[in-house]
């Protein structure tokens, strides 16, 4: 676990702009998952930017990191895809693992991020992405 954390930190250093807190316009944002919560849960990004998310799952259970609007979140909630990772902004993260995805944001609006494994979203595994 500690080794994986170092790996995540190393990845952050590799991208050259690692930060614990979400910053506007930051090309890389580190997300920590613990006790089935995203930290940070509120993220701000620059319009039109491509952001790389380095997501570490510190829990002993699997989680997801799925970016999308409310309609997309609803689709995921009722969907049956067992794994995510092929599309930008979508990750399945096994326990203790770190996964990376990049997402290009539109010019404005507000997106959501969530985990849609059974009951996770209702439990509070959700966050907001504000585009400005």
């Amino acid at each position: 676990m500690r080794g994986r954390l170092f790996l995540a930190l190393g990845l952050l250093a590799l991208f050259g702009a690692g930060c614990r807190q979400a910053e506007a316009g930051a090309p890389v944002i580190a997300i920590e998952i613990e006790h089935s919560r995203f930290d940070p849960a509120a993220i701000r990004v620059e319009a039109g930017s491509t952001v790389t998310f380095v997501v570490h799952n510190g829990d002993p259970i699997a989680h997801e990191f799925l970016i999308g609007d409310a309609a997309a979140q609803r689709r995921h909630e009722t969907g049956t895809e067992p794994e995510h990772g092929a599309r930008p902004g979508e990750l399945s993260i096994p326990p203790g693992e770190t996964r990376i995805t990049s997402y290009t944001f539109p010019s404005d609006g507000r997106l959501l991020v969530g985990c849609h494994l059974p009951r996770h979203y209702d439990y509070g595994m959700r966050g907001t992405i504000t585009i400005r």
Binding site: S36, T78, P95, P118, R119
Partner: protein, 408 residues
Amino acid sequence: MVEGEVLLQLGGTDEPERAFGALKHIHLLSIDRGGRKFKPGEQSGGRAHLRGVNLKPQGGVMRTVRALVAGIIVTLLAAQPALACGGLVAPDGAVNLGRTTTLAAYHEGVEHYVTSFEFSGGGSEFGSIVPLPGVPTDVVKGGDWTLQRLILETQPVERTSLFNAVAEDAPAGQSATVLQEHKVKALDITILEGGGDAVGRWAGEHGFQLSPDAPEVLDFYASRSPIFMAVRFNLDRARKLGVDLGDGTPIHLSIPTPNPWVPLRILGLGAGPRERIEADVFLLTDERPNLLPLPGFAKALKLDYSEAASDLLLADLRSDKGMKWMPKSDMWLSKIVVDGTASELSHDLAIDPTGRVTPSAVAAGLLDVIPELPPVGDETQQWWAWTIVLMLGAVVWRLANRFIGSAS
């Protein structure tokens, strides 16, 4: 054998592959079916109801007496609520809550924990993880009528209707250590030692599908006691043993511990914050015990019965399998009724069996484990001391607000 049987009816199980089994207890965690991701709507909720009881009389005079006692109990319990059922986490994560019945008896430094696991059918497997206050020295099949007899004792109104351990080396890293493995009828029981993360990983690697609140709840328990019991229903063995739908298997653990406590927060595992949790906890102690939190002050707890145990009750209990450890007289029987929302049940029940001191707030889950002071200079120790004082102050303030809130 006298066992209250509970039939869990599950809707939406017309398709064979969607039928699933359940091991019902304090809380239940589904076993992953081949790693498939289940989504809401695949499995509807269930409901529990009493199906009836069985009696298997034994030979001999003593056995006849036992059978007679059992028969009376069976008759009197014909309309009793379901025994030892609990939250059920279905593959879609839905939770169906029933009522749990548990005996925590404390005598000569040993906590005797008796509860029952019930199989409610189907084509898959379910399991349960129970936090324990210490490493058990014995895990055996429980008595046949102990829990039923306790219900009978504390609900006299109802009488009007009629009168081997296998040790394994711990793998490197944060893996949980398997301390013991037991097989009791169709149950596979594993005693684990490890942090919340390690136990959670072990559970996941062994097919348990943990609910999203599990990481926090496992950490909550592991900070006080790193011992857990994982129980799963072995379907193949159940078939060979002829275990029927609704059959219950009582389990009796003997746990040496100076600070007995009963896990309650785990009852709400997988439940929504507003979902109701119901359970009956019987306590048998040498003296009238002190409890923490105080039933009545804690929203979800009520002291429903508190009297000296009658010699007749103790004689009945002693006649059950594995209950010879009980004294013939001078025990105190308490019944704690748990009835509250999952969010209200954020603590456990700590017991001072002597009735002379206040039970441990740490054992009750009201206070975090206080870290040891670092063996360094005075200045740092003062910093730690002030930190601890502030933490204690915050906890006292929070508790006071909670009690004031519950009183109003």
